[in-house]
């Protein structure tokens, strides 16, 4: 359990909670339930949480997998700087957002899920994790071992099988010019 980045799970949980809150809110408003004001709040809060949680953070260790089309969200979330970067802020934000959901049955589930996400974020914050944007290309690749460079630009060091077979039978006909001089170092 040592290497777990809690924020990864908190992020999945918060995104799920946002969707559940949103759905509960829609049901409450569409069905015109009593307390539909809370439901309309839940729609707004759920939508906001989804927007905030959609871009995955870059992992401290290992490869980060982006969600489809998350780049625009990453840029927006990054623009808020330390507020969105810090997980304590997120933990308290989610805790605060979830409270009004508890006043109406349709949104209670979203409220509890968001509360749980908030707790996991708190655990992440305590362990010193923070949100990092996944930016294209820059340092998403692991540093490759020194001995292995980029994919080979040179042709394979041996002639292809067809020519090698010819070599066995017809030495002159199988003359093969390696375009780049290869020497034994």
């Amino acid at each position: 359990m040592g290497k777990i980045e809690w924020a990864m799970w908190a992020n999945e949980q918060a995104l799920a909670a946002g969707l559940i809150l949103l759905t509960g809110g829609i049901v409450g408003v569409a069905g015109q339930f009593r307390g539909w004001e809370f439901a309309s709040y839940a729609i707004a809060a759920g939508f906001f949480v989804c927007m905030l949680e959609y871009p995955r953070s870059k992992r401290a260790k290992g490869t980060s997998v982006e969600r489809t089309g998350q780049y625009c969200f990453t840029v927006c979330v990054k623009a808020f700087g330390p507020v969105t970067r810090n997980y304590y802020v997120r933990a308290f934000l989610h805790a605060a957002l979830c409270v009004p959901g508890g006043f109406m049955l349709a949104t209670v589930l979203g409220c509890v899920c968001l509360g749980i996400a908030s707790l996991i974020y708190l655990a992440a914050a305590v362990r010193g994790e923070h949100w990092e944007p996944i930016l294209p290309r820059k340092d998403t690749r692991k540093p490759v071992a020194e001995s292995i460079k980029s994919p080979p630009q040179n042709p394979p060091p041996r002639p292809p099988p067809e020519i090698r077979r010819k070599q066995a039978k017809d030495v002159e006909g199988a003359a093969y010019d390696n375009p780049i001089a290869v020497t034994d170092e």
Binding site: M1, G2, K3, I4, E5, M8, W9, E12, Q13, A16, I20, T23, G24, V27, G28, G31, F33, R34, R56, R59, G62, V65, G102, F103, M104, L105, A106, V108, L109, V112, C113, I116, S147, I148, K149, P151, P152, N154, P156, P157, R158, N178, V182, T183, D184, E185
Partner: protein, 565 residues
């Protein structure tokens, strides 16, 4: 179209049957609640009642199914029994985890429908209590049972409460919340990102399923969904009495006050069987974990690979199977899967463990990996083994011609196969059905060759001795190399033995041209079924699958099998 049906036909059939049963249950139970007995309930709830009960039936069915694909010992047993009848059916059992996931998605979907329908139900029940008008049928219905508490219809008994409070004070509501939360936590921690990188979170959170099943069984105990009793139907027929609700109970009206009762809980009947099977499965695992396993040899390979040779009384394996290993000194609760790399004909079994995470690193250190002197035998850690469990590689010997493709560490199950093939030929040359093996190993680095190259070297030597050099045709592809290495290869490619592996068969560079390979094999073996086995990344699997489908024609059939954990 080619081989699509042969490869995928049975899977599609199983999925269609499963979807069909779901659809049937949904519609059937929807209609069940449109009968006379539920008339008064529908006065309060409308069709929301049916919308809640139909997914409930589907949930019973799917919760019954979800435990079955993860009973690995049961599946291994079934696999062994079916294999004699139909290899295709046995292969279907490889896809158990995929099915488990599909059923889980269906459970999530039906849970959503069920909850939304019940949100409406609670709202309507509350409406009926709040609209306190004596000439309003829903209110009259809600009043029933205030005196003799047993016979009520509306579970919300007063107008001073709220749906939220009622939910938390009824058995159905409370268990519903608990199991939904458990389900959501299980799902979020099973997302691929979490599962692949933080296996322990996935594993431990998944055990919330115990709470899920307990809550599920008790969910219906409150009998909160109530319909008219049969006796009451005789005394109060809804089609005649519904409009005359102001006269109920009066002598001349002919309509007694209706009585209601809830349905007895049904869920336990669906899930008790699979729960019992799963409990047996876990007991088998506990029993096996107490069997003594001795580590007889530890080898550290350069490519951060640890080889463990072990012995266990009564251990019997087939080629390409895998075991779960637990090391109590590292973690009491974690069981990790590893492919067996030894052949059944040997009297010990081995695994090659690649050191990638917490647990494997700890195992390495426990076996003395970071010490320079030899570890004493008695200092080696105690381990427990569960398994072996069957995978597609068991089928290898059922094919006359076989293509084995392994990428990097994915070559491990094939180590077992090659060794076993060799032993079989030594013992019984003519009786072996498999006549030709084409082996492809794709590797990005040269160090990775080391332990496997030893095996291939010894096989190569023995084959030449027995004049059987063309039984096994193997191709090793180095997919990346350094420029300095390249120069060395160029100069030495004329040498008898390959400069990297020391084998007579030369290492090839770059990626194989699958089209060529498949065409060559197809023309060399017309009219046969060729088994294609892969252990490697998904992309490679997809391209091989496509090749299988497109090269299957006029007699030659390529059947694709993918190994998965």
């Amino acid at each position: 179209m080619g081989n699509f049906v042969a490869n995928e036909g049975l899977s599609i059939f199983v999925i269609l049957v499963w979807l069909g049963i779901n659809a049937y249950l949904f519609v059937q139970f929807y209609m069940n609640f449109l009968v006379e007995r539920w008339f008064y309930t529908r006065v309060l709830l409308g069709h929301a009642l049916s919308w809640a009960r139909a997914p409930a039936a589907c949930l019973n069915f799917n919760c019954m199914l979800i435990l079955l694909p993860v009973c690995r010992n049961l599946l291994s047993f079934l696999r062994g029994s079916i294999q004699c009848c139909s290899r295709t059916a046995a292969r279907q059992l490889d896809r158990n985890i995929t099915f488990h996931k599909l059923v889980a998605y269906m459970i999530a979907f039906h849970t959503a429908v069920h909850i939304i329908a019940h949100l409406f139900n609670f709202e309507y029940f509350m409406d009926a209590q709040l609209n306190r008008n004596s000439s309003h049928l829903p209110f009259i219905l809600s009043e029933i049972g205030d005196n003799e508490n047993v016979s009520f219809l509306n579970p919300i008994r007063s107008n001073e409460t709220s749906p939220t409070i009622v939910m938390f004070t009824t058995i159905a509501g409370l268990t519903g919340v608990v199991i939904t939360l458990a389900l959501i936590l299980i799902i979020t921690s099973s997302m691929e990102v979490i599962r692949r990188s933080y296996f322990e979170v996935f594993w431990y959170t998944h055990h919330l399923f115990v709470i899920f099943f307990i809550g599920l069984v008790f969910h219906g105990f409150g009998r909160i969904v109530r319909g008219q009793t049969l006796g009451s139907l005789n005394r109060n027929k809804p089609d005649t009495c519904a409009n005359r609700f102001e006269e109920w109970g009066k002598n001349e009206s002919g309509c007694a006050v209706p009585e209601f009762a809830g349905n007895p809980p049904m869920t336990w009947k669906w899930v008790v069987g699979p729960m019992f099977l799963y409990v047996c499965e876990r007991l088998v695992r506990i029993y096996r974990s107490h069997q003594k396993v001795v580590i007889t040899k530890v080898v550290m390979h350069p490519s951060k690979t640890l080889e463990l040779q072990m012995k266990k009384k009564g251990f019997h394996m087939e080629v390409g199977q895998y075991v779960f290993i637990q090391c109590p000194s590292i973690s009491r609760l974690e069981w990790h899967p590893f492919t067996l790399t030894s052949a059944p004909e040997e009297d010990y079994f081995t695994v090659h463990v690649r050191i990638v995470g917490d647990w494997t690193q700890a195992l390495y250190e426990a076996c003395g990996g970071n010490k320079s002197e030899l570890q004493e035998a008695w200092k080696l850690p105690k381990v427990a083994i569960d398994g072996p469990f069957g995978t597609a590689s068991e089928d290898v010997f059922g094919y006359e011609v076989v293509m084995l493709v392994g990428a990097g560490i994915g070559v491990t199950p094939f180590a077992s196969i090659l060794k076993s093939v060799w032993y079989k030929h030594i013992q019984n040359n003519e009786g072996v059905f498999t006549k030709k093996i084409y082996f492809y190993w794709l590797c990005p680095e040269t160090e990775a060759f080391e332990w496997f190259a030893d095996l291939l070297q010894s096989l190569e030597r023995q084959m030449t001795e027995r004049d059987m050099a063309d039984f096994l045709s193997y191709n090793i592809y180095l997919t990346r190399w350094k420029e300095t290495e390249a120069a060395h290869f160029r100069v030495h490619h004329e040498a008898e033995n390959d400069p990297i592996t020391g084998l007579k068969q030369k290492t090839l560079y770059g990626k194989p041209n699958w089209d060529n390979e498949f065409t060559t094999i197809a023309s060399a073996h017309p009219g046969t079924k060729v088994g294609v086995f892969l252990c490697g990344p998904q992309m490679l699997g997809k391209s091989l699958e496509k090749q299988c489908i497109s090269h299957t024609e006029a007699g030659v059939k390529f059947i694709f099998n993918k190994e998965n954990f």
